[in-house]
């Protein structure tokens, strides 16, 4: 272990029972060449300091638990190779969220926004199981597939300049997930979701900075979803003026 190269980690610490504001703590530890950032945090937790709190689970970039700021950028820590960072690495909780403890942030605000966009299939009449699966062509699947890849890791909220200024903004992931159902050929609930999208602090707040799409670890393009959602919400509204009953074609 003595021969392994060392790196210094500057980690945000915050315990509301004892701290008024977050502080930092430094740990210098030996690292392995194939470690991800998360491996270093787990080593610190296991061997040096049992009081460090962070979330993680799958360590294969799909559960979305371990998002943090690494050298100031929102990252999935289980996905980022430590070798790409320098001798000193700063790890802090995701920006734009309230901190619960150390590297753990409060996602309840997101969960409410997520629910608000009605992220489920809405149909006028529920299809009976006996009728079998609906048909959907590979092209129709392609329409929404990428938006369904969101793992709710919240990196996009951390990167978004609008979320930073307008806490009520629905935000990239929630809009992308609502839009995902609007463009699913099996869904009939676009009117209800567009109503949500047209509400206050919603799709129109987006300044199209594109930061969300750049940081997404799953190559979802929330910025495109927000832009399409904006367009559709306006079209839907304009149609509503001409065809008073919503006029879905």
């Amino acid at each position: 272990m003595a021969d392994r190269p060392k790196k210094k980690f500057i980690v945000t610490r915050f315990d509301p029972e004892t701290d008024e504001v977050p502080k930092t703590q430094e740990y210098e530890i030996p690292v392995e060449p194939d470690w991800k950032v998360l491996d270093a945090l787990n080593f610190i937790k296991d061997e040096i300091d049992g009081t460090l709190s962070h979330r993680w689970s799958c360590r294969m970039a799909v559960c979305g638990s371990c998002g943090m700021m690494v050298d100031g950028e929102p990252k999935l820590t289980c996905k980022e190779a430590l070798s790409q960072y320098g001798d000193t690495v700063e790890v802090s909780p995701l920006s734009n969220f309230p901190i619960i403890r150390d590297l753990v942030v409060d996602l309840d605000g997101f969960m409410d926004k997520f629910q608000a966009v009605k992220p489920w299939i809405i149909r006028a009449k529920e299809r009976a199981v006996e009728e079998g699966p609906m048909r959907q062509s590979p092209e129709e699947l392609e329409e929404f597939k990428q938006f369904s890849m969101c793992i709710n890791c919240m990196l996009c909220y951390s990167a978004c300049p609008v979320v930073a200024n307008e806490p009520d903004f629905l935000g990239p992931a929630a809009i992308a997930l609502g839009h995902r159902y609007n463009v699913d050929s099996r869904d009939e609930g676009a009117d209800a979701r567009n109503e949500v999208f047209r509400g206050e602090g919603t799709v129109f707040s987006c300044s199209f900075a594109n930061e969300c799409s750049e940081v997404c670890p799953k190559h979802v393009d929330p910025a495109a979803a927000v832009n399409q959602a904006k367009f559709n919400a306006v079209i839907d509204w304009a149609k509503g003026l001409v065809l008073p009953r919503g006029g879905k074609e």
Binding site: P16, D34, E47, G50, S57, C58, V129, R135, S137, P138
Partner: protein, 554 residues
């Protein structure tokens, strides 16, 4: 989640608490890759799916459970389709199916190679429309509350606030998954610590068939990250250091299907290949190759995008151009809380579904892609039956239940920031991992299993002496990790003691000192009961039916 939806649909007045130690979309179903099995094609039928499953189970599956499962499977996957799951499609818009090990035809529904992810998110998002499903996120259940012989709720630590509360109800359903983290190399996420199994075990409910641990043949060395069986279903080859397709070139009993053989047999073949000196050296021991290069970039991108991403990020290999290093890793527990075809346990009011349970669908070896469907079929069944039970039951006496909650609060409080004792939590965990690997690996022997049983008992003693540093009440993950380790030790105890007494080889339980199956003496389930003095082993009849045990050949 499926149980919660079934419960609120079964009773318009029911209210369901969805209690989870993580946000629901973090649950480990998210990591499942390859697919979910259900009869879909004209060339398939329930008889074939049933027989494949019975044979895959090495005849330890309960045939009433298997028959119910195969009939319900297409309905459940169709329901999930109606709820938005993005199943991959054929050109005509019908749902596509792929080949999987041990399945005699293409019956595995898939959504590229992120099937667990899409199933979990589709279910969770669908569940959000029900006001009567009330989420309790990041609440760590510490005990099942039992009053007058009936399970009537749980006590749970609110991880954010550090307080223990009771959550009362007329029935409880466990859906907490497996316990892969008791082993060092596993596809399982860090949250898979056997909490639900331990809760039931401590409450006197037996754990069944715990000796049967599935090693997935293709995990990444070091991390244990899963490379889906769909790689083999889509035509990938396993190769040794000489570049030979050893499943074909050497006689490992996997038969003409070679890479489409069942997991237990392929895992054993890989170990034998390495022992024969035809493995490849790596920093984490010997491995073999999974070669996809002949499939071509387009097919890999379309059908196996996640595999390509995982291989690139976690082992620095692009499977379009190079073979992927793989080795068998612990993947799934066939054993679990003893349940029947109704998802009920022997404790009134307690139900279980999914990997935490052993409904005896999987017997001694699970076929890949049966378990995602199992979560839905028996989740729904548990939800409906829990409602029926609740309607015929009463709230019980609140006083004694709250008193149990108080006791739990005191127990957890005493553990938090416990300074005395010198043992580091992680060191006991590592010692547990090591002994489980040496005693309960792919190949087992009496001596090493007995040694592991003794070591686990010792570790339980050492666990009583752990030292914890974190005395904060707020999001104290050292405290939850300590409780998880307690669960892991109990589950490991049941596992190794169940394994040490089964003196035959069946399915995933393979003994070098008893290499054949012995239906005369061992065609029965193992039950393991908790006892403070040490586990008590009992047995239970296998529910046989029309499929008579025969030699398992592929």
């Amino acid at each position: 989640m499926r149980a919660a939806i079934a419960a609120v649909e079964a009773d318009p007045d029911a209210s369901v608490a969805l209690v989870s130690k993580v946000y629901p979309m973090r649950s480990h179903t998210v990591s499942a890759e390859g697919g979910a099995a259900a009869v879909a094609r004209d060339d398939d039928n329930f008889e074939m799916h049933g027989y494949d499953t019975v044979k895959g189970s090495d005849f330890l599956g309960d045939q009433d459970v298997i028959q119910y499962f195969v009939q319900e499977a297409p309905k459940e996957l169709t329901r999930l389709e109606h709820w938005g799951c993005p199943w991959s499609r054929n050109d005509d818009g019908t749902v596509a199916t792929r080949a999987f090990g041990g399945m005699s035809t293409k019956r595995t529904w898939y959504a590229a190679d992120k099937v667990g992810f899409h199933m979990l998110h589709s279910l969770f998002q669908h569940s959000m429309q029900f006001d009567r499903i009330v989420r309790y996120d990041e609440q760590f259940v510490t005990k099942l509350l039992i009053e007058n012989g009936t399970c009537r709720g749980v006590s749970a630590l609110d991880v954010r606030e550090g307080v223990v509360r009771v959550i009362l109800g007329r029935a409880v359903i466990l859906a907490t998954g497996g316990a892969g983290k008791i082993f060092p190399f596993t596809t399982n996420g860090t949250i898979k610590t056997g909490d639900g199994m331990a809760l039931a075990y401590r409450a006197g409910v037996p754990l069944k068939d715990m000796e049967f641990v599935q090693y997935h043949p293709t995990g990444l060395p070091g991390t244990g990250i899963l490379i889906t069986e769909a790689t083999r279903g889509e035509g990938g080859h396993l190769k040794n250091s000489k570049g030979e397709r050893f499943l074909v070139d050497y006689d490992y009993g996997v038969g003409t299907k070679a890479e489409l053989g069942p997991r237990d047999m392929i895992s054993r073949a890989i170990i034998q290949e390495i022992e024969a000196g035809r493995g490849i050296d790596g920093p984490y021991g010997q491995y073999v190759h999974l070669d996809l290069t002949h499939l071509g970039e387009e097919k890999i991108n379309k059908r196996l995008p996640m595999v390509r991403e995982l291989a690139k990020i976690y082992i620095g290999v692009d499977p379009v151009h190079e073979p992927i290093p793989i080795r068998p890793v612990v993947h799934y527990m066939m054993g679990g809380v003893d349940t029947d075809v109704t998802a009920a346990t022997e404790l009134p009011g307690l139900y279980a579904a999914g990997e935490v349970a052993s409904a005896s669908l999987n017997g001694a070896n699970r076929l890949g892609s049966n378990s995602l469907t199992e979560c839905l079929v028996f989740g729904a069944e548990a939800g409906r039956n829990a409602i029926t039970f609740a309607k015929g039951s009463s709230d019980g006496e609140e006083g004694p239940l709250r008193a149990q909650g108080e006791e739990e609060a005191a127990r957890v409080e005493a553990l938090r920031g416990k300074k005395k004792g010198g043992e580091r939590l992680a060191h006991i965990r590592h010692a547990l991992n090591d002994t489980m690997e040496s005693g309960c690996g792919v190949y087992r022997e009496q001596e090493s299993m007995d040694a592991t049983a003794r070591t686990v008992a010792e570790l339980k003693g050492r666990y009583a002496d752990i030292g914890l540093e974190d005395s904060s009440k707020v999001f104290n993950t050292e405290l939850t990790a300590a409780m998880e380790l307690g669960a892991m030790l109990d589950v490991a105890e049941a596992l190794v003691n169940s394994a040490a007494q089964r003196k035959e080889s069946r399915g995933a339980h393979t003994r070098k000192d008893a290499p054949t199956r012995d239906d005369q003496n061992w065609l029965h389930h193992t039950l393991c009961y908790f006892d403070p003095a040490g586990p008590r082993i009992d047995k239970k009849e296998v529910n046989l039916g029309k499929w008579v045990p025969e030699e398992r050949k592929y």
